[in-house]
């Protein structure tokens, strides 16, 4: 399987350190680990499969439009970044196609969560794609992460926010890594 990734090493701490962690956790009550674990991945894939719809785009567009509406409500300045895809008319074919690409990018990453090396290669690609666009900052991915976290429970049943956030951060951090 080759070398381990940064994310894997975040998740698999050396035994000595783990013992220390257990002690600290017991002492501190709940010391939350922020890594996207195998259990988290399963939760995320399950929630995602529920709304994904592999045959039609209606739900994908509805979810992405809601996410962007949420993002622009709290960060109106971000809207200017999407001029090229006709953001002013969120029902236009150009913006809907853009929505589908965004959701597709996320779908791709979610389905690669179980293969960290392939996921890293993909996140690196997305990072470069976003770095090529003027004005996109690492922070924007934290903003859109918050929007996804607010939209997802409105559309998925039994949504596990903690698992989602840990895995979404793993993806967003990978993309944001190459951004200012």
């Amino acid at each position: 399987r080759g070398q381990s990734t940064a994310a894997e090493s975040r998740c698999t701490l050396p035994r000595k350190m783990l013992t220390l962690f257990v002690v600290l956790a017991l002492a501190g009550g709940a010391l939350a680990d922020n890594c996207c674990s195998a259990e988290d991945r399963r939760e995320v894939v399950r929630a995602w499969e529920d709304i994904w719809s592999a045959q039609f785009t209606g739900r994908r567009v509805a979810v992405a439009q809601a996410v962007f509406a949420n993002l622009f409500a709290s960060h109106p300045e971000a809207k200017a970044l999407f001029k090229r895809v006709n953001v002013d008319d969120s029902d236009s074919a150009e913006f809907k196609a853009h929505c589908i690409r965004v959701v597709n990018g996320l779908d791709l990453a979610i389905n690669l969560l179980a293969q960290p090396q392939n996921l890293d290669a993909q996140l690196d690609h997305l990072s470069k794609q976003h770095a090529a666009r003027d004005g996109i900052k690492a922070d924007h991915f934290h903003f859109i992460a918050k929007s996804f976290a607010e939209v997802m429970p409105q559309v998925t049943s039994c949504f596990n926010s903690d698992a989602w956030t840990r895995c979404f951060d793993r993806i967003a951090d990978g993309i944001a890594a190459g951004l200012p």
């Binding site: 592999a54 039609f56 785009t57 809907k96 690409r101 597709n104 389905n111 179980a114 392939n118 890293d120």
Partner: protein, 157 residues
């Protein structure tokens, strides 16, 4: 009357186009073949192995993403991007306006790379072998052929 119907049926089969019902059928078959998680990785690997078996020179187009090793993380990620593009296009087959906007986007991405039309034909051949291999049976080759042409026609226009 019965003979006429059968005759008409044969004509319809021979000239299958990517009509509304054919699009629904391709969507269903794609949904089953594409799968999720690691199934998609296996599907993509099989597809590209067939593509490169048929057209070994096509590997040169994919130097940037390590086309010489389809198992490398770089190529696996690339493979999923292509399948993602195909998935978007197939799932948009029932929404022409958005489909055209998406195909225009893919067209732009491919134009920069000056890809010979023969490679699109090779990709289609490979797809038409790997999808039914995944499904086992119940594969409508005519519907796939016609609907793939709609998509690749847009990308390669």
């Amino acid at each position: 009357m019965k003979t006429l119907l059968i005759l008409l049926g044969l004509v319809a089969m021979a000239t299958a186009d990517c009509g509304g019902l054919a699009r629904l059928k391709v969507k269903q078959q794609w949904n089953r073949a594409f799968g999720e998680g690691t199934e998609r990785e296996a599907f993509g690997t099989a597809l590209w192995n067939v593509v490169f078996h048929k057209a070994p020179k096509a590997r040169e187009l994919f130097k940037r993403v390590k086309g010489d090793n389809v198992y490398s993380p770089e190529f696996q990620a690339h493979s999923q991007r292509v399948l993602g593009g195909l998935d978007m296009s197939i799932s948009l087959l029932d929404d022409s306006a958005t489909l055209n906007a998406q195909l225009a986007h893919l067209n732009m991405q491919h134009k920069e790379r000056a890809i010979d039309a023969a490679y699109f034909a090779g990709f289609k051949e490979a797809l038409l072998e790997v999808v039914p291999a995944t499904l086992g049976r119940c594969f409508d080759q005519d519907a796939w052929s016609a609907c793939f042409d709609v998509i690749s026609g847009g990308i390669n226009a």
